[in-house]
């Protein structure tokens, strides 16, 4: 019962990732693509934790999710600071 619930939850979040991927592919500016990648990364953290529940190994997948959250935050911040200095329009 809980397996089916977590599976449906993961598939719904993956559908939301697919919707967000449209903004990454078709964003007018580079900064639209950055925010799309940030949103996908935040959804991926939830998907990783739910994968841990699907495989009955929650305690390992939670650590992976924590590291992914750190990488997502630092990467987004680095991209934002880089394009703040470089300029948005000419890219």
């Amino acid at each position: 019962m809980s397996y089916t619930f977590f599976l449906i939850t993961s598939l719904t979040i993956l559908f939301a990732v697919l919707l967000s991927l449209y903004r990454v592919v078709a964003g007018p500016h580079i900064i639209d693509r950055i925010i799309g990648v940030n949103v996908i990364g935040t959804k991926t953290i939830a998907v990783i934790v739910l994968t841990g529940y699907l495989f009955d190994r929650v305690e390992f997948f939670i650590d992976i999710a924590f590291v992914y959250a750190l990488i997502n935050f630092i990467g987004t911040l680095a991209f934002a600071r880089y394009f703040e200095q470089k300029g948005v329009e000419n890219s």
Binding site: S2, A16, I31, V39, V49, E59, D63, A80, R81, F83
Partner: protein, 104 residues
Amino acid sequence: MTSAVTVLAAFLICAGIFFLLMGAVGLIRFPDFYTRMHAAGKCDTLGSLLLLVGLATYQGFDFSSAKLLVIAVFIFFTSPTAAHAIARAAYTNRLPLWTKGERE
């Protein structure tokens, strides 16, 4: 007793999924960068927070649920910070604002 906790966890997880989906729809539908920022930054934070708190409720009082709550607090601090950094990058470079009547 246990079933009430499970129902509460399922309700929290469903609310989190709802907010994540609405954030994705707003990211597609809104006409401007700043409005997209508005949809993505807030809905994503609240959706992930509700989903992680719901999973911690489902887990019970455990070391794993404590780590889930730590991830939730981390997202609660870092996601608005990242959104603010991106919005400041757009505002510094004078990205054009959407005005009413203009199509996407």
